[in-house]
């Protein structure tokens, strides 16, 4: 059964919020690693993954 468009948008916004929270946490981790001179490859990969997910979710929300 097709979901109500309003409910779908609300769920999408919640997903954006959740992914956004973790994307910000990943960004803070990258900045902290850079400032402290620690290896930044893995935090950067995680940040890119979350950013890509967030971008996809925002795009889906705009289309709906």
């Amino acid at each position: 059964m097709a979901m109500n468009p309003r409910a779908r948008n609300q769920r999408l916004e919640m997903v954006i919020g959740i992914i956004g929270f973790f994307a910000v946490a990943a960004l803070v981790n990258v900045v902290a690693s850079l400032v402290q001179g620690k290896p930044v490859l893995m935090p950067m990969v995680v940040l890119v993954a979350f950013t890509a997910l967030l971008g996809y979710a925002v795009r889906v929300r705009r289309r709906s």
Binding site: N9, Q10, E13, V15, I16, G17, I18, I19, F21
Partner: protein
Amino acid sequence: MASVTTTGSEIQTSTPAPPHRGSGVRWGAIGSYAGIAAIVIWCLAPFYWMVVTAFRDVGYTFDTTPWPTHVTLDNFRTAFSTDLGNHLARALVNSVIIGICTTAIALIVGVFAAYALSRLQFRGKFIVLGVVLGASMFPGVALLTPLFQLFTNIHWIGTYQALIIPDISFALPLTVYTLTAFFAEMPWELEQAAKIDGCTPGQAFRLVLLPLAAPGLFTTAILAFISSWNEYLLASELSNDSTQPVTVAIAGFTGAQPHQEPYTTVMAAGTIVTIPLVIMVLLFQRRIVAGLTAGGVKG
């Protein structure tokens, strides 16, 4: 229900047969009760074993008799005794202080946030709710090292605020989420009627909505208190001897001999710690269920 069918001049009345009563053995009901019994045993067996061991003489700690044998109250005396460096009474007071402060602050902040999220219309409302949900998913262990570093730098290690503030960060998402569902269920007309009668939005919230939201507030307060009461991970690193809560105090119990684990004393302390929660849940169980199920059904 009887039904009447007309075929030409013939009128037929058909009544459905009464439900089949079976031969007396109701396998469905038996299965349900067996399932309930299995779940109850599964959930309560560890607590039962804790209580049985708490009342058992220390010489019979590993006795596997499933009912209390060699009953004694010595374990409870030892748990409260400070001779071995254990401070359960002080830890209980600490846990109560931390729990009450955490619950009060989380509830005060959470009630306003939940009201805004459920009642006010603004862009990105559900994104904020998603962020709140995301914060509640964040693993506590990831916060341990940064918090330890931060609190060491500002000389907060071993203080109450070092234990209360992280606890609030765990209790607040729970508070906001539960109360948002509760406020969303309340009829808009109440607030509008209060405004027509001359209330400001603040007065309508304080005098009309808050009293009606009491079951939800109770539920949320109890859940926040329980989450704070049971917190161990952060407290084990951020507290010291004078501020440690019960969870940390029990884990640090020492026996009479070196390297001796005082299982019966730990079980007695566990029983003492569980009692306030059990009493609270029994007293407010109806409100808890009402509050938890609020928002579950729309319309």
